[in-house]
Amino acid sequence: MKRRGYEGVAVCAPISVPYRRYSVDSAHWWIGRALHALTQRTGLKPADIDGLSVSSFTLAPDTAVGLTQHLGLSPRWLDHVPMGGASGGVALRRAARAVQAGDADFVACVAADTNHVDSFRKTLSSFSRFAQDAVYPYGSGGPNASFALITRHYMNRTGATREDFGRICVAQRANAQRYDGALMQKSLTLDDYMRARAIADPIHLFDCVMPCAGAEAFLVCREEDAQAMKLPFVRVLSTIERHNAYQNDPIQFRGGWAQDRDDFWSMAGIAPGDVDFLQTYDDYPVIVMMQIEDLGFCAKGEAPVFVRDHSLTTDGDFPHNTSGGQLSVGQAGAAGGYLGMVEAIRQLTDEAGATTVPNARVGLVSGFGMINYDRGLASSAVLLARS
């Protein structure tokens, strides 16, 4: 059956609450700040928000339901999207359908996490049953160790070098220097990258994101409502979502995007060459390379050549992670899954300021999340276009 498009849906009001390395505040506080900023930005009152989508790892013992009472909201449509880096795309596509169907008028999508001293260790050790049984007892290296194995295998198979990964990190740092919200703005050269200390070979310091606290949010509503509120908005051209793709691959070499990309591009009616910027989920640069390949920007195994041949900065020929990505902005838990989405909305509504990609009309936001055992399970992607 042919998939229905997202006609009439508007995505607007990009909100980023400035990140902090550590926060003594709770996830509730961060979500509250994001929603407060959203109401300020849109003019909506809390009572007008009749749809809420929440992504957070640190809300415990509360759930999204408990959060409604905490924040005094009374939504008629409530969603919890615990999908880490894939949350942004998944929250958006669900909210878009709810709005399209009339189940909700104004869906506030929010992702936030706090970061207390020591909360990262606690998150790692109890992240999943497989993590508890089959990952954490093996050196407790966290995602660094898991992605080290994936990176090592990718290097063996494709000939990618550390310099290739370094190009991605260095370009993102250059972008971050134009984005005030980035926690890491100190200039980074390829030399700095290469000389950094090893974390879990071949992963070195600048391949890793820094856990932090923060919040991101956006609003999904009908186009006529966005226009009535005089909110610049973007349209949704297509979306995909997949979990546990290619489960028989002995180690992760591709993600769910590869399985769904034909559907993705045909729904949008455009081709990779029509995309003006790409926001990938960059928990590690090897995953950026997989997204570039699996979404169709180059053939499998050729991302190392691709990043050598292209400039990935906001003023380059392939603008990528234009606010600096998590590698430079920081990884605020589940908000990391919203970072690219919120930045893409800013780009396509002329709110990106110094990171603006000139004349951008179409952006791709890709998500990846939840390393349950040995690989990331969730993938999502969204094509957004200027209205």
Binding site: L124, F130, P137, S140, G141
Partner: protein, 413 residues
């Protein structure tokens, strides 16, 4: 090849003894199927009864056909290291002080990919043999071993965290008057234990094998009578901080059932030597061992009980004896929980009748003390916690698995 272990120097008494930390010990209930396999030194994974799919990590449904019939089976342990990494930073306090640490993705011949510890000689791209071991928390982990034995492979630092190898460790054998104690001393010396303390009660009384025992170079005789709390306390006061492996070789084998014996004299002796003896040793040596679980190359490693396999199911011909052994087994489970905080293992060696004068009238097969001693060294080297030595013990283990009630009737004759 592995860098051979260096004999540890004498410890500086002014230095702080490193407190034992443990790797995270939380596991799902299903994952303890691996713990059960590791406890006996087997390599078992879940295999779907309905479709034959071999799965890992442990699950409660088959990811191939959704069946819930996914019991653990022995599977082929061969595989290949597809990718490796050396972890250099960890959020976990136990691993943090043991960095760097190598792990790898091993593709098993039987199907699944297994992220495992890597032995130093198990390199990326090479064939490996997977083994399940008990880590310091007492839970199963897999370490990929080189396909073929390499020189000094037992000295690998990551492997040695998982084993209780007697090499360069100091062993206390609690009773050297009997054949088992003497065979154990010889086996520990051959396994490169640095000191073998051997307890002898009433040393003025000569005993068979004494000359040979005293001739073993690393043996030090200590005056130990485990039926005397004072004696145990005195010896512990002298040497507990230097006992890395304790092997309780005290024995008291007497035939006779429950009703067919007259009076409680023998039963008292059985309980005093075996059960209360174990308690005395545990109370006086246990706390020091637990505190020394991370004390370098010769950290405290294991408390070894030599138990009759009839601790698991009573043998009426030796009925009261079996009951005393069962008491020891039960106590060993508590002791295991208590010593786990220090990463110190309790190894139970289950044996059938020994080939000694106390089982003179019992027909073969019987176990020689030397075979029991060798099996104990092997078990320590593997780091397992339950070993069934010899034909009788393995037979009873197998029959218990199949039908305990049948075993009870059959042992009753």
């Amino acid at each position: 090849m592995t860098e051979p272990l260096l004999r540890p120097r004498r410890k500086d008494p002014l230095r702080k003894t490193r407190e034992p930390l443990l790797p995270q010990g939380l596991r799902s209930r299903t994952a303890h199927g691996l713990t059960a396999a590791a406890a006996e030194g087997r390599f078992m994974l879940q295999v779907c009864t309905d479709c034959g799919f071999t799965l890992y990590p442990p699950r409660d449904a088959c990811p191939s056909c959704l069946s819930d019939r996914v019991p653990f089976h022995d599977v082929a342990p061969g595989g290949m290291v597809l990718a490796e990494t050396t972890i250099r930073t960890s959020t976990d306090p136990y691993f943090r002080e043991r960095m760097p640490w190598r792990i790898g993705t091993v593709t098993l011949d039987c199907g699944p990919s297994f992220v495992a510890h890597l032995h130093g000689d198990a390199a990326e791209g090479s064939r490996v043999t997977m083994t399940l071991r008990l880590d310091k928390s007492g839970n199963a982990v897999a370490i990929a071993m080189p396909d073929k034995p390499t020189s000094h492979q037992e000295d690998d630092v990551q492997l040695r965290e998982l084993t209780c190898d007697p090499k360069f460790r100091r062993v206390l054998i609690t009773d050297g008057r009997n054949a088992t104690g003497q065979a154990m001393a010889l086996a520990m010396a051959a396994a490169h234990a640095s000191i073998v303390f051997v307890g002898i009660a009433d040393a003025w009384k000569p005993f068979p094998g004494e000359t040979d025992l005293r001739a073993i170079p690393c043996v030090e005789i200590v005056p130990l009578d485990i039926t005397d709390t004072r004696s145990v306390a005195d010896v512990a006061g002298e040497i507990a901080h230097r006992v890395d492996i304790l092997v309780n070789t005290s024995e008291h084998h007497r035939a006779g059932g429950i009703m067919n014996r007259h009076g409680l004299t023998i039963a008292h002796e059985e309980m005093d030597i075996r059960y209360f003896g174990l308690l005395r040793l545990a109370q006086h040596f246990g706390p020091t061992m637990r505190a020394r679980g991370a004390d370098g190359v010769n950290a405290a490693a294991a408390f070894v009980n030599l138990l009759s396999v009839h601790a698991l199911m009573n043998w009426p011909e030796y009925g009261a004896f079996s009951a005393a052994e069962a008491a020891c087994l039960s106590a060993s489970q508590a002791l295991r929980a208590e010593l786990r905080g220090g990463g110190v293992k309790v190894l139970n060696m289950f044996a059938g009748p020994l080939d000694t004068e106390w089982f003179q009238s019992v027909p073969p097969p019987k176990l020689s003390p030397a075979a029991l001693a060798k099996a104990t060294v092997d078990a320590l080297r593997m780091g397992i916690e339950d070993s069934y030595v010899g034909d009788i013990a393995q037979d009873i283990r197998a029959r218990l698995d199949v039908q305990p009630k049948a075993l009870e009737r059959e042992l009753g004759g």
